[in-house]
Amino acid sequence: MTTFAQHLTGQDEGPNAQSSGALPSIEYGLVRAHVVASLVTLVISVLFGILVATKFTLPEFLGSHGSLTWGRLRYNHTEGIFFGWLGNAFLAFFYYAVPRLANRPILSRRLGWLLFVVWNFAVVLPGWMLVAAGFGQPLEWAEFPLGVAAFVVLAFILMVFEFVLPFLRARPSDLYVSGWYIIGGIIFTMLAYPVGNVVPYLVPGARGAAFSGLWIHDAVGLFVTPFAVAIAYYVIPATTRRPIYSHFLSMVGFWLLFFIYPLNGTHHYVYSAIPMSAQKGAIVASAYLGMDVILVVANLLLSLRRSSGIASKDVPLRFVWFGVIAYLVVSLQGSVQALMPVNRFIHFTDWVIGHSHLAMIGFASFIALGGIAHMWQRIPGTRYNERTMNWSFWLIATGLTLMVADLTIAGLVEAQVWQSSAPWIDSVRAVGSYWLVRTLSGLPILAGFLLFWTSLITGPTLSDSVVSENGRTASVDVAAFEDGSASPEVRWTGWLSHAHVVAFGAGVGFFALSFLVLAIIPGNQLEREIKQAAPVTMASLTASEQRGRVIYGREGCAYCHTEQVRSLAADVRRFGAPTEAWETKYDYPQLWGTRRIGPDLSREFNLRPRDWQLTHLYNPRLVVRDSVMPPYPWLFDGSPDQPTQEGLDVLAYIQSLGRARQLSGLDRQIPPSSVQPATMDMAIAGAPSARATPPTVPIAMMGGYSLSAPLVHPASDPNDLQEEVSRGGALFAANCAACHGSAGRGDGKASASLLPKPANLTAARFSDERLSSVLWNGVAGSAMPPWRQLPTEDLRALIAYIQSLHAPAAAPGIDETASLDLGKALFVATCASCHGDSGEGNGPAAGALAPAPTNFHLKKPTEERAWDVLENGVPGTAMPPWQNQLSADQRHALVEFVRSLYDPPKENDGQ
């Protein structure tokens, strides 16, 4: 009886086990099981993806259930593709290829079934369920909760025993490149996976991001890429019956990939607070990686030379060929988009989403599908339908090409809008049609996957292996290797006999080097920087804010909203000062994000009032008509003004973002008198060095009345005015009607939960100056934001439209002079402390009030409105009701007086 140790080391086998001629067993049952699991999880994951894409067009579709909200579906989509689909496909390939490559069976069939159970029923299935139940974590490619991550690590340990040991028991100097990729992928992923899952909980903010960046890239570079390339290197010679072009080049490609790939991680955080030396190192590594991929792809394509006939007829090989081409394209694309001039433009946009789909479908999935189809044809007793397989290829290829082209263009459109000063929502509107096409492009892909599955269960039963037919097409190469003349026995002596061991040690060394140069050294530098820069009084999050952060993470908010303002003019202009490392001192885990569908939130403190935030959270389209953000009704008890504790926690967290920065006093605040027009703002932001400390609060969003707001007048020519009113109506419907109502009566959908209520624009005559100021600065203390991002002509059109809403009333008659005198006396006695003696809204108490008291020289309320305010006050403001303090006659006198203060609009001065 042999011991387990003997079994592991192969001592239970006879000394001639390898050369005896007996072939190792292949566990076809496990191959089949993993193929079935891969295709089931693939279809489910793609359905998740299509739902996610649909929600960009129909954001409220299935929006009332937390488990089907965008963020949780997004987590399950990517994790399903990663673990469910690709993980199972790779495992199926291992069971098929490892015994052939190592000439040793896998360690144990029982261990294989245990691995199958762990992978599917302790990782994929519970991972999906826990994420849907709200236990996901906001870490890219690590969204399954930590408990599930532990089983992932266990599975990789089992893989080492199951698949790596057979290679170690074989003669390593004769190991084919696919075997090296399998060994390297398993061991390095086992080491890297905990980095992406655990370290961000131990190392906060910018330092944690340095580690997260490693895993984001290693997930693709050390898990997806090696195994997919292993399949390509296996399927091509096995199908064509010709050796690959150069095994030397394949090994150079292998080692360069493992040396270079881990060094790429930080290119996900270019222009961030991570030290520039680490960023530039990652960019250089990205360029090297592109060169390495050219080498690998050239070798693979040269291996197909003189086999074009087979490649066009053999659908599995065509899948692999497509994947190899996609590998080249996506890798070169990745190298280019890491470069700073490109990265500053396209990062965070849909371009990157197109890139990732090209990588995961075009490269990895096509090769995995080719590998599955190749294996399936060689499993005795299986069915195979070549016709449907062919249709599957074309459907997936067509859908993918459309999707990637669409997302790439959408990314360029988004980037163009983000570089301008247009409101953020304009970028959402601009790509709405692209998102629809992207959703539709997912349908042929899904149909292709279903057909692929169909092709494995229909068609004739394969009683004989298909490859045997191809194998009869002998070539010169085949003859050469069959008679042994092309594979002479080369005996190595001394240390060279352990060359592969040395090389593997070097690989581990480079893996460690990546942590040293991209995570540990920058992390230490950041730690010193944080100690120097962080205020000693910097407060951590409250318990409520901390709970809100967890909810924010589980709902996937960080996958649409970044929390990092990059050191770029466009970012600074739009969001405020660049994020510094010390601001992230308490961020466990970091939530910097790598995608912007909504705006960055890192300067949200003091930016918008509580009622706006709650209304937006309850249903974003109540306040932003064209928003695609999902609603979160499960955080409320039926209405936006009734948040649950979870809703309040999320609100507390969002309103804490940027607090430390703003309270630190480290930034030089710009006094109102120095605020410049938008063109000057852009010039300042375009040269950050001109102002060492840009304002924390985004320039575009700074509230407060500014004398320097440009005074915009509508056109004086009636025809031009009519045109402006017409265009202003469209602008109003798109940007203002959600709160102010379609007719401007202050009765929009959001008005029910906003306090103070949105202004009834029909109930007052607003001067050009008043409207210019409000549109430029917003109304502090209310939900009214500034709209200074809009071009001047749009502001002019809006002013023209708003003024057209008011129906002029007759001026007070001369016989009412007595009433005006009484009104003035009452005004000075009761109203002047806030509104000022002359009604300019500048009384002694005005400075402490938000919203500021009305300046009656710029706004003339209708009689009904003025009367209503005096009777009932203005809820949500400092204006109290005067019904009990003043008689009806006195109130009437006050109404007449405040209406008499209005100065008619100045004549058009040409602005």
Partner: protein, 65 residues
């Protein structure tokens, strides 16, 4: 940082090319696995053409006696 990456990657590439150029036996040795892989593949194919006795969908088929 950049210098380190460039020097290391370039040195590895240069060393490999040098060995490949100056040491013909290395070329033979490094290319051997691509032939042995195909030889192994042929052995399995030959065995697959033997009569199959167990075609149960989830059963493992032990190819060795």
């Amino acid at each position: 940082m950049i210098n380190l990456i460039v020097i290391l990657a370039s040195a590895i590439m240069f060393a490999l090319l040098l060995v490949w150029w100056r040491w013909p036996v290395f070329r033979v040795w490094i290319e051997a696995p691509k032939y042995s892989m195909l030889r192994q593949e042929r052995r399995f194919d030959d065995q697959e053409r033997e009569p199959v006795t167990n075609l149960s969908p989830m059963a493992s088929r032990r190819s060795s006696p």
